[in-house]
């Protein structure tokens, strides 16, 4: 980009302002907690969090160094990298609990639906928040694993907030939802048929923090400070669920009573490289990508 | 047939209040041909619009056929002074004339014949397919006249309908209007600025004062019903009537200073 602010390397110890583009969902609780706990300021990082709805705004902003770091799901980053965008993961973001039936996202159906297992989804319509992305590839993987025909599943794009109503109104047969909508649908009598984040790989890394190749090249010090702060934040979040449940009510509109009952994701400090490989393979298998990008250039 | 009693009309709005008509009373019998003369701005157009039920009176009453006017009475036709703007620019000449006939129970052939005849009568037989804005001012005015004639109204109000045509055409149209009137026994109220015309056409001439408008004088035109341009106009009776209207109007006009204040 030509209008990018100049990238001047930071000197160790110097306090710098950084901006991180995130999505206001449960997944990014650690960075909010970390900011609150001073994990960033103690490393001389004056952190500002900017929320957007998704990658359309975050990726270009990171590439342009408007944001120094951004939050994105793994499949999107795989897509970006394979199209030649210089994104690079710097820190783990959020991971599946790995517990089938007790994850922070999953495919739900109406209580009285004939669909029993993921295999039954074949031939049915399933809502996902973004097509050709992590939601549908992992759901297909679950269907495949359960012995169904993944190509027969009819995916429809629908925003998470609209899914509970669509499911209840019978507009779709099933929906891939994440918290807090998972709890909301279950409350309304929906039934979980697949934990698609938990099934394809153990401890699937769902999303990560990333930056641009340029930033890595120009400002190693800043990146490593961010990585350290993130690590501390992730560890803290993973071990203090009550703190997490409290902080999410501050930056989302989730009410405290709902927050108290959510299934929280896991926040391991390291990216699960094998699971990234799995997602890459799924993306190639579902023809999202022609060939997997060189994971070495993407992984931290 | 047509009764105007103590009509008063005041326009107000946009910072201006004008008493267009002060107190006007007159009567037109069924089938009568009344011409109205009066100075510019004295309220003739306003009067016609009130009679046609297009404008509510401020005070007084207008009755057509004994019924107070609230909207346009049925069987009424008007030739507006703003003839150009009264034609539909999106309709061709023939369609403009035909439009008011749609409500009449006429066969298509009959309707077309009426339209053609009316347009031929005003000398526009070769402009049926033109749009009004492709016509000269006088031609537009004749379309408006043809529309009224083809409509065969019971009451016809005409507001300076010949203002835009040449002398020869005017004479022809005058005869046309009288013919139509005599054939259909239409009740006519005809506003004109031409005093000769007022006398030539009407059975009675109503002279209006300048505002606040009232009836200055009414004059019965005791000429035979059979009139023709050369004979009637050279009739001594015609000249006398004409002179009377002139003098009346001049007398009423005298105190005003048009053209005397400048240049």
């Amino acid at each position: 980009g030509n209008s990018a602010p100049p990238q001047t390397p930071t000197a160790p110890g110097q306090t710098v302002d950084i901006k991180v583009g995130v999505i206001a969902i449960v997944d990014v609780a650690p960075i909010y907690l970390g900011k609150e706990k001073g994990f960033f300021s103690s490393r001389g990082l004056n952190l500002t969090l900017s929320t957007s709805q998704g990658g359309a705004a975050i990726v270009p902003a990171v590439m342009q160094n408007q944001y120094q770091f951004g939050f994105s799901n793994v499949t999107s980053l795989l897509l970006a990298r394979s199209r030649g965008i210089g994104v690079k993961m710097v820190s783990n973001g959020v991971a599946s609990t790995g517990v089938v039936g007790k994850d922070f996202g999953g495919v739900v159906v109406k209580g009285d639906s004939p669909i029993r297992t993921a295999a039954d989804l074949a031939g049915k319509s399933v809502a996902v928040n973004t097509l050709k992305n992590i939601g549908d590839t992992t759901t297909r993987a679950s269907v495949r694993k359960a012995g169904g025909n993944p190509d027969a599943v009819k995916f429809t794009e629908l925003a998470f907030p609209d899914m509970p109503a669509a499911l209840q109104g019978g507009r779709v047969d099933a929906a891939f939802v994440v918290e807090p909508f998972l709890t909301a649908t279950l409350d309304q009598g929906a039934r979980l048929v697949s934990s698609n984040y938990a099934e394809p790989a153990p401890d699937l890394t769902v999303a990560t923090y990333f930056t641009s190749d340029q930033t890595i090249a120009a400002n190693k010090d800043l990146v490593s400070r961010f990585q350290e702060a993130m690590k501390e934040s992730l560890r803290y979040a993973d071990t203090h669920p009550d703190e997490v449940r409290r902080i999410i009510t501050t930056y989302t509109s989730i009410k405290a009573d709902v927050a108290a009952r959510l299934t929280l994701p896991r926040w391991p400090t390291e990216v699960n490289r094998a699971s990234v490989q799995t997602l890459a393979d799924l993306a190639v298998g579902d023809k999202l990508l022609d060939k997997a990008p060189d994971l070495g250039t993407l992984l931290p | 047939m047509l009764d105007v009693k103590h009509l008063r009309k005041v326009y107000s709005g946009h910072g201006r209040t004008v008493e267009a008509i002060g107190d006007l009373t007159f009567h037109v019998a069924a089938g009568e041909f009344v011409t109205v003369v009066g100075p510019s701005g004295c309220g003739k157009t306003t009067l016609l619009r009130c009679i046609a039920g297009l404008l509510p009176a401020t005070a007084g009453e207008i009755r057509v056929d004994g019924r107070p006017v609230s909207g346009p009475p049925p069987g009424l036709a008007v030739v507006f002074q703003e003839y150009g703007r009264s034609l539909f620019p999106w309709l061709r000449v023939a369609d403009n004339v035909a439009l008011p006939l749609r409500r009449r129970k006429l066969s298509t052939v009959e309707r077309r014949k009426r339209v053609h005849d009316a347009l031929a009568a005003v000398g526009l037989h070769d402009s049926l397919e033109a749009f009004p804005w492709q016509l000269s001012g006088g031609m537009q005015q004749r379309v408006a006249i043809a529309r009224a004639v083809a409509y065969e109204p019971r009451v016809l109000l005409m507001d300076e309908p010949f203002a835009a045509v040449d002398a020869q055409t005017r004479a022809d149209l005058e005869d046309l209007v009288r013919d139509v009137w005599r054939q259909l026994r239409i009740t006519m109220v005809f506003v004109t600025h031409d005093i000769d015309e007022a006398v030539y056409l009407g059975q009675r001439v109503v002279m209006l004062s300048r505002s606040p408008t009232h009836v200055l004088d009414e004059l019965t035109v005791d000429l035979p019903d059979e009139r023709d341009q050369l004979g009637t106009r050279s009739d001594p009776g015609f000249s006398k009537l004409r002179a009377r209207v002139y003098s009346q109007i001049r007398a009423a006009k005298a105190p005003v200073d048009l053209g005397k204040t400048a240049s």
Binding site: I25, P161, P164, Y251, S253 | H14
Partner: protein, 255 residues
Amino acid sequence: MIRRLLPLSGLLAFALLLEVVPYTGVVSAVYLPPLHRIAGALGQEFGRDAFWTALLDTLRTWLTGLAIAVGAGVVVGVVVGSVPLLRAATASTVEFLRPIPSVALIPLAVLLYGTGRTATLLLVVYASFWQVLVQVLQGVTDVDPVARDTARSYGLGRLARIRWLVWPTTLPYAVTGVRLAAAVALILTVTGELVIGTPGLGKEIALAQSGGAVAQMYALIVVTGLVGVVANVVTRDAEKRVLAWHPAFRKEAAA
């Protein structure tokens, strides 16, 4: 008195509808809460500082964008409209650019201006500019030919003709353009905030949506709608003053 209440009657009926529909079972009250719950949420919003900041942010972006779009639309429209050659030469380009959705321009906007107000502003101006332009172009065409000939024969120069002939003729069209643009600009402001994440009502709506706070979300939508209503009252009022001569307003003033 009846005239006073008339504008409210429509809104009241609509409000009643909003209150009743959720009880009819057409939709679940969970997803479309009855009005009193929306009103409750609105009350809560009024108590939050963040709400007022967001509202002000939205108003600022909206009005700035609208002002730019209207200014540019009027100037470009009058200039292009009064030069037939220019108009013919630009027509195809205008038709090409108009249907390009602002959403497609989001990455470009972010790339150029980041995720701040300017990026949203770009979308707002882009979308609402065309609304004004098309109206003004039509208005310029509407000049009465006799009036145009009058101005020409009396030797009025190009600028004088624009000022005294073209502009008054265009004005009613331009006012409609402004009204259209005002809503489009508001929509794009909120959408930009929603998608890009520029601070403002849209971002609050996005937050409420993703948090599943349905009543709060509707409360914020109601605020957006009310901003639109107020904008219309203001333009209508201005219109009544500048277009007093226009046939549409003559009758009303005389009555």
